[in-house]
Symmetry: C2
Subunit: 313 residues, 2 copies
Amino acid sequence: MSTATPVFEDVLAAAERIAPHIRRTPVVRSASFDKLVGASVFFKCDNLQRTGAFKMRGASNAVWVLDENEAIRGVATHSSGNHGAALAAAAATRKIPAWIVVPENATPAKLSNIRKFSPEVIMCKPGLSNRERGLDDVLTETGANMVHPYDDGRVIAGQGTACLELLEDEPDLDLVLVPVGGGGLISGTLLVVKALCPGARVIGVEPAGADDAVQALSRGERVILDNPQTIADGLRASLGAMNFEIIRREVSDIVTVSDDEISAARKVLESCLGQPVEPSSATVAAALIDHKIDAAGLRVGVILTGGNVAADQ
Amino acid sequence: MSTATPVFEDVLAAAERIAPHIRRTPVVRSASFDKLVGASVFFKCDNLQRTGAFKMRGASNAVWVLDENEAIRGVATHSSGNHGAALAAAAATRKIPAWIVVPENATPAKLSNIRKFSPEVIMCKPGLSNRERGLDDVLTETGANMVHPYDDGRVIAGQGTACLELLEDEPDLDLVLVPVGGGGLISGTLLVVKALCPGARVIGVEPAGADDAVQALSRGERVILDNPQTIADGLRASLGAMNFEIIRREVSDIVTVSDDEISAARKVLESCLGQPVEPSSATVAAALIDHKIDAAGLRVGVILTGGNVAADQ
């Protein structure tokens, strides 16, 4: 399944599969935020998800979809952040090993968040090629199942469950907004919205300093950014192949926000919701606050993707 | 001012006075909770207030209303819970001493929450008379200003600022619900609602095992319960004299909920809001969930009073 582009039914299957292992997160509203942006905004609080981020959904699906013979060999990935912690935590729910290849320049806080769930952390030199080489070594040695953070049908289907839950609580949305990094979350979201709420638009938001998705849509092909610059470190990745395929077909628009706008939006969100969110989560709020999206009078779903603030600073 | 029954203008003055020292807490909504109870519910999240409870408001007003000569002598109270921590924290904002008399049977967690803000903790034997004697000794020795947890005009005016902020965010409420213990919060709330939103009803909720307010309204005089039994330990106190005076004059109704209903409501709130609340805070949600109050189709303000869950268990 990891190499097949997922469809809506895969999200439904994922939801059933991972339900025992994830948290059903609340949808909350803020009167102050609604007034500020002139819309009715429904925040899906996956900042309150296990491990502090929605990544637990895709990782859990990837772990629990394995058959017994595959599972026994464990899972592996490279990550300096939330995906690594999520995959380690998901593996722990199935009591199988997880090897996480982590670049030496990962922040101590993120490293410790990964280590909380898995002792099998393998350090490598920074840079994508070093990380991939480190992971290749692990895969060769262990026979573990590789779980890519976003370019993986199992992961995309799992991430789609956040929007599935959102639409169960609020079926009549006009617009759904999600941050865009590698594209795992928006891909899963698109599958769900097109199936359940086809009249609604899905708009992605990415940091101006990591705007590969905007460039890719304009050029009609994926763009890999060498050195993206943004405080939203969860969104520095460029779109995966499978993700680009889904996004190109289904997305209504992708807009960008600056780091200053993201920082300001974080403060607004904390004041309106009383919850800290990662910069990645604040992108979407920034797009509403700074009128990058015309949402006046609309019912808007927003996925808050993570709350690992200490780990981000 | 502590002996004079406060009026609405005292709440306005308190709001200005304490603004630099407290947090303006968010008002949040939950689509799931709205559906469950069939009303539009606006939660004022004072569980996110400094020290974890709305008590910081009244304590801050009591500390900052003192003139220089009074303030230099410090403040004192007896408390086994949130008021003690709040008064110590408020005194710290003015860099004046606070003496907190704490009964020996206070939980270690609550004691440590008080000690976080003040080293001047004086232990005494449990029981109201021992606590009062311990406090008398402190007052004689230090000349500190006594700050009663609820039967005090400065405290009532401060507690009223929670509802003042709520109505600034949501001016058109039909109903405001608050838990009732000693009556500090509901007294302040009544002053605010009658002045700003006179068409709205204010209904108090108290635990069935500590229902002195219901009994007092029915008898027309205060009732002091010897040994109230409820998990909502923040609501075990009986109404103060000044509080009873305001409540009798202004309140629409007081209803009761059982400990089982409170426990169930806590789980619902945590699931709907993603935030832990104290049993005291859950009373009001329980009254809505269990239809003790007819709120169908109404716009309902609810003050979540505290989030010191660990300290409560």
